[in-house]
């Protein structure tokens, strides 16, 4: 059965801290891995990763994929209260056009 596991489930940090969120997967016919940020409502897209070892970066956020070890990490440096959200990892199955989501990591940044 395909599975996407995120860790930790929740995290509380102080502003300025650096955090690392993890996503491991067991999906046959892997095509891509995507990270989303979900605040109150709709998830919003952060990164899409298809190749191992190539870091994607956007401001204080960065992400990398390891297709051999089947995991990805999302790093957030110098965290701010606006980073408080649930971060979702999703893996696309090439064969089925389906996306499998993890349960998410809930990040709370305290001032």
């Amino acid at each position: 059965e395909d599975k996407v596991v995120q860790s930790p489930l929740s995290l509380v940090v102080h502003e300025g801290d650096t955090v690392t969120l993890n996503c491991s997967y067991e999906v046959t016919n892997f095509r891509s891995l995507l990270w989303y940020k979900q605040e109150k409502k709709a998830p919003t897209f952060l990164f899409m990763l298809t190749s191992s070892g190539i870091e994607k970066k956007s401001g204080r956020l960065s992400s990398i994929l390891d297709k051999k070890e089947l995991f990805s990490i999302l790093n957030i440096t110098a965290t701010q209260t606006g980073d408080s959200a649930v971060y979702l990892c999703a893996v696309e199955d090439l064969a089925g056009n389906q996306f499998y989501f993890g349960t998410g990591t809930s990040l709370t940044v305290i001032p």
């Binding site: 709709a42 998830p43 298809t50 979702l88 089925g96 056009n97 389906q98 989501f101």
Partner: protein, 114 residues
């Protein structure tokens, strides 16, 4: 700049009632999806469509039906509402076209079955 629009935002149903959750997108996206999100859980795919007239089951299709008569609209139908269908429902769309494209999500419909 509407993107993906879902209606209604909230709804309470009695057991056994039926209803349709509406989803429309104005980005001319080929692919559309319906997910449900239960508390503390990730998104589970209910149904998806790769184009008008084509629909397929996802992980958790039981108790739901969909149709895709136009590119823009992808309604989700609950025929006999059950308490287990209490959830937040998200509709999403993407370009598709044979390679991965990020999904754009609607704001969700919070549905309670009592």
């Amino acid at each position: 700049n509407a993107g993906v629009t879902q209606t209604p935002k909230f709804r309470i149903l009695k057991i056994g009632q039926s209803m349709t959750l509406q989803c429309t997108q104005d980005m001319n996206h080929n692919y559309m999806y319906w997910y449900r999100q239960d508390p503390g859980m990730g998104l589970k795919l209910i149904y998806y469509s790769v184009g008008a007239g084509i629909t397929d089951k996802g992980e958790v299709p039981n108790g739901y039906n969909v149709s895709r008569s136009t590119t823009e609209d992808f309604p989700l139908r609950l025929e006999l509402a059950a308490p287990s269908q209490t959830s937040v429902y998200f509709c999403a769309s993407s370009k598709g076209q044979g390679r991965t494209q990020p999904q754009h999500f609607g704001d969700g419909t919070r549905l309670s079955i009592l």
